[in-house]
């Protein structure tokens, strides 16, 4: 077989992995570790690797070093990885369920809806950061309900979902613009900062909440990963092979919407990661359905690396991570569309 597998069997227990996928996962993990190391070393206060390591195990001699490593840089790195993984998994889920590489939460309006929720909190209600995050969460879930209601006749599949989602997203984007345009100068500035999607000033409490929420939402997706992969073979085939299509689809879509909403609530919209991570993972692994682990790690790496670039490439000017992923992702989207068209 062209794609050799590793099979583990013990009694009734058996699993099978594609060798190349395992290789890609290990390589991505190494890249994530490298990016994380750079993120901990670089900054206003440049540290050495030994200094960072001693700080990580709680033995730093200098309290300033300890503060920068464990209280400022580490939560930022961990949050970047968690949010990236959540976006990657959510994107892979949407793309598999709909069989459409464009069906990512950025494109079909969920992220825009989360932004609407946050903007209402920032501009109309002048709320604190926690309430803003809650607003983003509600906005994302509300948009999902709206899109689901508009596509209920045909179900959450294919072209119709993408078109309805783009329509809803466009309407909400207009609403967002209107909100910002009518806002006071201070509120508009806060809104603009939030909309750029940033990991600035992320501290442990937010990291912890995000980690718990993402873990809870990823569990059902891991359990249903195999029936989810069957959905890629079209509804009839999946059903014929014994997949409870309706139930699986409902659970995974709900979990994926939840992941996007949580990620957006944590950092603001980080554009294009959910769209690009599963596609990059698919090309790296060479598997027609990339599963969830590889998109998760690819998403984590994308956000982490983009944040590094945003912080240090044009230093002292700092770019928000969403700006970097947006710029890279825009180019990627154009490329994706161009190759799709050529194949037609």
């Amino acid at each position: 077989m062209s794609s050799p597998h590793v099979v583990l069997r013990r009694g009734r227990f058996s699993v099978r992995f594609r060798t190349r996928t395992v290789g890609v996962l290990v390589a991505t993990l190494l890249a994530i570790s490298t990016a994380a190391a750079y993120a901990l070393v670089l900054g206003e206060l440049d540290l050495s690797v030994p200094q960072v390591l001693t700080a990580l195990v709680g033995r730093a001699e200098d309290p300033l070093t300890a503060y920068f490593v464990t209280d400022v840089r580490l939560p930022r790195v961990v949050t970047a990885a968690i949010v990236g993984a959540a976006l990657g998994v959510a994107g892979a889920t949407f793309q598999t369920v709909t069989g459409n590489p464009l069906a990512s939460p950025d494109v079909i309006g969920f992220t825009t809806g989360a932004a609407t929720g946050a903007l209402v909190q920032i501009i109309v209600l002048e709320s604190d950061p926690v309430t803003i995050a809650l607003g983003a969460l509600l906005g994302g879930l509300g948009t999902a309900v709206l899109v689901w209601w508009l596509t209920r006749a045909t179900g959450l599949t294919g072209q119709r979902l993408v078109l309805v989602g783009i329509g809803v997203g466009a309407g909400l984007a207009a609403l967002n613009t209107l909100l910002v345009a009518r806002a006071s100068l201070v509120a508009a500035q806060t809104a603009a900062q939030w909309l750029a999607g940033s990991l600035n000033a992320v501290l442990w409490p937010r990291t912890a909440v995000t980690a718990v929420a993402v873990t809870v939402l990823i569990v059902p997706l891991v359990v249903l990963a195999r029936p989810l992969a069957m959905l890629a073979l079209s509804e009839d085939v999946a059903r014929g092979a014994g997949v409870e299509v309706q139930r699986v689809r409902t659970v995974v879509v709900l979990a994926a919407v939840g992941l996007v909403a949580v990620a957006t609530a944590a950092t603001g919209p980080i554009a294009f990661v959910a769209l690009a991570a599963p596609q990059v993972a698919r090309r790296l692994t060479g598997a027609a359905t990339p599963g969830l682990a590889s998109p998760a790690l690819t998403g984590a790496l994308l956000v982490l690396a983009s944040d590094l670039v945003g912080q240090h490439l044009f230093s002292p000017t700092q770019l928000a991570v969403g700006v970097v992923t947006g710029a890279v992702g825009g180019v990627y989207l154009v490329g994706l569309l161009a190759t799709q068209w050529r194949r037609r």
Binding site: S3, F13, V15, R16, V223, M230, G240, A287, A288, T289
Partner: protein
């Protein structure tokens, strides 16, 4: 049994028994409800009135995986995701035999090998499904359904888009399966092949079953004229002796 999309029934008052270990072929003009009937047998559609029984149990009562271990379905013109390999696709047929902690047993391994040999696609294992010819692709999909190792198989127009020799290849494979003790139900368009390969023929017209039985007993010029609105003569196929439809000359 009655089945429909929305209010109007597509098939109405159908009463049908599929005999065990035979090849049952459903024929009829376009939009007569052949595929709807097959999809109802395969539990992809629920009848609005009446029941489908599998081994004397209503099909709605079976769990999804349990049902898929007894009955395999090849839908009309299925599509694989871009870049999926033949081996990967055929392996997906093992889904109803697997679980979260039982993902690739030795039975899965041998089932996939046997299915690929039976459908003669073992040499294509490494190829990507989307770069295959129509005939090869259809055999690959058949292999996936065979990997399910079900005693019952439903095939919805398995010979569409295939040239004559590939059509025969697919139908010969179906015949071998019946010979090995399986039950096959297929929807076919080509009457000549349907009459030649069917043990049991089901003729449908406008949502109703108008004739069932052995092709040689059932097929008459009147039946074909009534069902297809086609004046014709019936002669014996010089090779197999089964009925052969010869349309009358048109003015």
């Amino acid at each position: 049994m009655q089945v429909g999309y929305g209010a109007t029934p597509v098939i109405d008052e159908v009463d049908l028994v599929v005999p065990d270990q035979t090849m049952t072929v459903i024929v009829g003009p376009n939009a007569c409800g052949k595929s709807t009937l097959l999809r109802t047998l395969g539990r992809m559609l629920q009848p609005s009135a009446g029941t489908v029984l599998l081994d004397d149990r209503p099909t709605v009562g079976w769990s999804a995986k349990e049902f898929a271990r007894v009955l395999g379905v090849l839908p009309q013109s299925p599509r694989a995701p871009d870049g999926m390999s033949v081996a990967d696709l055929v392996a997906r047929g093992r889904y109803p035999h697997q679980g979260l902690f039982r993902q690739w047993s030795t039975a899965d391994e041998s089932g996939v090998q046997a299915a690929m040999r039976a459908a003669d696609v073992a040499t294509l294992a490494d190829r990507s499904v989307d770069e295959l010819s129509g005939g090869q692709r259809q055999r690959v999909w058949l292999a996936m359904v065979l990997a399910q190792e079900t005693p019952l198989l439903l095939l919805d127009e398995p010979t569409t888009y295939l040239d004559i020799s590939h059509q025969l290849e697919v139908l010969d494979l179906a015949r071998r399966l019946v010979h090995d003790g399986r039950t096959v139900v297929a929807v076919l368009h080509d009457l000549h092949l349907a009459f030649r390969y069917a043990d049991h023929l089901v003729v449908m017209s406008q949502g109703r079953v108008v004739a069932t039985g052995r092709p040689a007993d059932v097929v008459t010029a009147e039946l074909v004229r009534d069902v297809y609105d086609l004046p014709c003569r019936i002669i014996a196929d010089p090779v197999s002796g089964t009925p052969l439809v010869i349309p009358e000359a048109r003015p």
